[in-house]
């Protein structure tokens, strides 16, 4: 038995935490030592995430358990008990998939930061917060315990707000910091209230146990209220539209590399929404309603995100609204899947057949989940290029930029790749996943896919405008002697660009190896998720 792979779930959190606690101490030795240390920690974390994912996707697909502090690693129940008493991690296809996304974005963001933050103050604290944010996101994705999830949610909230307000000399960053912290806290408290209600109802905090209780006892009023609070809180944290007001501020005001990681943070909340809807409440008559709620949120998010992006003149804020609209595509894919799943027979075997026959609901889920990975890569790439552009031109206002393409050739190329991928233009990865979403949502309702396609076209117009404003035309202001971004920035951008192209050229391979297991874990993995903890099936 490979011990490192066995301990990978907890090391994935413990290693960045170790890095975060030690970074300020190592930082006293000087910048070189600190950068080396953080670089090692980030590389080790990414390697662990890769190991975890490789181990899982090569295995049989049964969720694996890690019991914290138990006598044995995979014995969740003490003898004679039917309730798991310790905190445990549960890794299924979806969790393993999400850790891959986080690892990719963190790797690019952290290595970009080494150059980006070179001549700024407070570097040790910056990297410490960055590692804490990463650890929190990994925790949200791996934990199988409701309260533990809330704790990690709060870690990401506080670390994210510390990073958003990090450049205290910017007026807007402080306003954004206060606003985002208030809304994050509120969303965290909604989640905590829901956890309290579920604990009061079922006397336990383990997700699998609560799911099985809801399955056997039926959905009570208290459970429904808890579901409502969880959905509100998590959709708020993910930036879905009626509760999206913080998202453009957060993405726009945070330092560029952290904006990319904040998108991974939003996706972790989105993962939690899916986990709640499919695993915790994946049974009973109300799941079709839940699916339609997701679809309404999705359509609003796509539409409002793109429309608001059209009117922006601030480069970061424009990309931020683009990021908001992409959350809508993921919600749309999974929402269509949820509605379709409700209309099929409720039972593991029938659902498994539909997955192998590629029912349109399952295809929609594949599209939505694949789009999370694609969005992380291309939005991350866009935020990194925006960082390079703003650093070179000294402004974020598109009206005051221009002519950067003359001197910053590589950055221009990367921006084009990211923008095309986000708008869903064929050779890039955004097309691969959006096509699955269009195709599947058309079968549920043509209206949905029309909205999705039109919004993508509008998004292309937005990025053409931004491209024209920043890169084309005569050289304005600082652009006259703007220099190409240093190698330390170009390499992380190139890595993300390669990922974007690879996923666009070989979508079939990636869908088969990593996306399908993740979609299956949600589609019919509920019984396996519960069975891994409580035994039986």
């Amino acid at each position: 038995m490979n011990t490192l792979a066995t301990h990978a779930p907890v090391l994935l959190i413990a290693v960045p935490l170790l890095g975060a606690f030690a970074t300020p101490l190592v930082g006293k030795l000087g910048r070189g030592a600190r950068d080396l240390f953080v670089g090692l920690i980030v590389a080790l974390t990414a390697a662990l995430a890769g190991l975890l994912a490789a181990d899982f996707f090569a295995g049989s697909g049964v969720p694996s358990i890690y019991v914290l502090g138990g006598q044995g690693l995979s014995i969740p129940l003490p003898s004679g008990m039917t309730v798991p008493i310790r905190i445990l991690f549960e890794v299924d296809g979806m969790s393993a998939f999400m850790t891959l996304i986080t690892a990719l974005v963190t790797l690019a963001g952290a290595y970009f930061s080494f150059s980006y933050w070179r001549e700024r103050s407070g570097g040790s604290m910056y990297f410490s917060l960055l590692l804490l944010l990463t650890a929190g996101i990994f925790g949200m994705e791996l934990t199988g315990d409701m309260f533990n999830f809330f704790v990690f949610l709060e870690i990401t909230s506080i670390a994210a707000c510390g990073l958003i307000g990090f450049r205290v000399w910017l007026k807007k960053s402080q306003e954004a910091g206060f606003k985002v912290m208030t809304l994050y806290t509120l969303s965290g408290l909604f989640v905590l209230l829901a956890v309290a209600l579920l604990y009061g109802q079922h006397g336990a905090l383990n997700m699998a146990f609560i799911a099985s209780q809801i399955g056997t006892l039926g959905v009570t009023v208290v459970d429904k209220i808890a579901l409502g609070l969880l959905l509100t809180g998590l959709a708020m944290k993910a930036g879905a539209v009626p509760m999206h007001m913080w998202a453009p501020d957060a993405y726009g005001e945070a330092p560029a590399p952290t904006s990319a990681i904040l998108v991974a943070n939003s996706q972790a909340s989105l993962y939690a929404v899916f986990r709640v809807l499919f695993t915790l409440f994946g049974i009973g008559a109300s799941i079709a309603t839940n699916g339609w709620i997701l679809i309404v949120l999705a359509v609003l998010t796509i539409f409002v995100g793109v429309t608001m992006a059209l009117v922006q003149n601030d480069l970061k804020r424009l990309i931020a609204y683009g990021a908001v609209s992409q959350i809508g595509y993921m919600l749309l894919g999974v929402g269509v899947g949820l509605v379709r799943r409700a209309s099929l027979v409720v039972g593991g075997a029938a659902l498994a057949d539909k997955a192998t026959a590629l029912d349109y609901g399952f295809v929609a889920m594949q599209g939505g989940i694949f789009h999370m990975l694609n969005d992380a890569a291309c939005i991350g790439l866009l935020f990194l290029t925006s960082g390079a552009v703003i650093r070179a031109s000294g402004t974020r206002d598109l009206n005051k930029m221009g002519g950067l393409a003359h001197r910053m050739k590589w950055t221009t190329v990367f921006f084009i790749i990211g923008a095309f991928a986000l708008a869903g233009i064929p050779p890039f990865n955004g097309f691969a996943s959006k096509f699955l979403i269009y195709e599947a949502s058309f079968k549920l309702s043509p209206f949905l896919s029309v909205i999705a396609i039109l919004s993508s076209i509008m998004l292309l117009a937005v990025f053409v405008k931004a491209f024209q404003g920043a890169f084309l035309g005569p050289k304005v202001g600082l652009a006259v002697d703007a220099e190409e971004a240093p190698l330390g920035m170009l390499v992380p951008m190139a890595v993300l660009a390669l990922v974007v192209i690879a996923f666009g050229l070989f979508p079939g391979f990636f869908v088969d190896t990593i996306v399908t297991p993740a979609a299956k874990a949600l589609w019919y993995g509920r019984d396996a998720y519960i069975g891994a903890v409580l035994g039986g099936g």
Partner: protein, 163 residues
């Protein structure tokens, strides 16, 4: 800002004298709460908060100039990181079995390994395995962390809050 009683020189002589007297008592009580966390109500967090409140009292009563040299921000921050690392290290100690495995409890005497009789009893101080050690680590972390926040905000708010 001057009107709220907190300034460079601190508060009146009465307050300062009482503070000097009470300060030690609060510290002793805080350390007692941390040390007996596994026997009586309390623990690392509560005790740490009590000790931090003693620091805050000192800061308010004697003023920021009065405690210069006693409470060093950088030292406090380093100690907090040491506390956090110690806690993480204790959690790592049991990784041979599982993360957070309590490998010292009930080893039969020695270092925090004494067992306790079942049912109500007066309590054994040398028991609990890693629990008392974790209490100390967390206590160190909380007392220095909160003190750090209080000092930084008290000094910084005056400087940064008004342009």
């Amino acid at each position: 800002m001057g009107g709220c009683g907190m300034n460079q020189d601190g508060m009146s002589v009465i307050v300062r004298t009482v503070t000097r007297f009470v300060y030690g008592l609060i510290l002793v009580f805080g350390f007692y709460v941390i040390m007996h966390g596994h026997l009586t109500p309390g623990g690392g967090f509560q005790g740490g908060a009590v000790v931090a409140s003693a620091f805050a009292l000192l800061l308010v009563a004697l003023g920021t100039a009065g405690v210069k040299g006693h409470l060093n921000k950088h030292l406090l921050q380093s100690l907090e990181e040491v506390g956090a690392l110690a806690f993480l290290g204790l959690a790592f100690a049991g990784i041979g079995t599982a993360f957070f495995y309590n490998l010292l409890a009930n080893t039969g005497g020695g270092f925090f390994g004494v067992g306790v009789p079942a049912g109500p009893n007066a309590g054994v101080l040398n028991a609990g395995g890693l629990v008392p050690l974790m209490n100390w680590a967390v206590g160190l972390k909380v007392m220095t962390g909160i003190a750090c926040i209080v000092i930084v905000m008290l000094v910084g708010a005056r400087k940064e809050g008004t342009e």
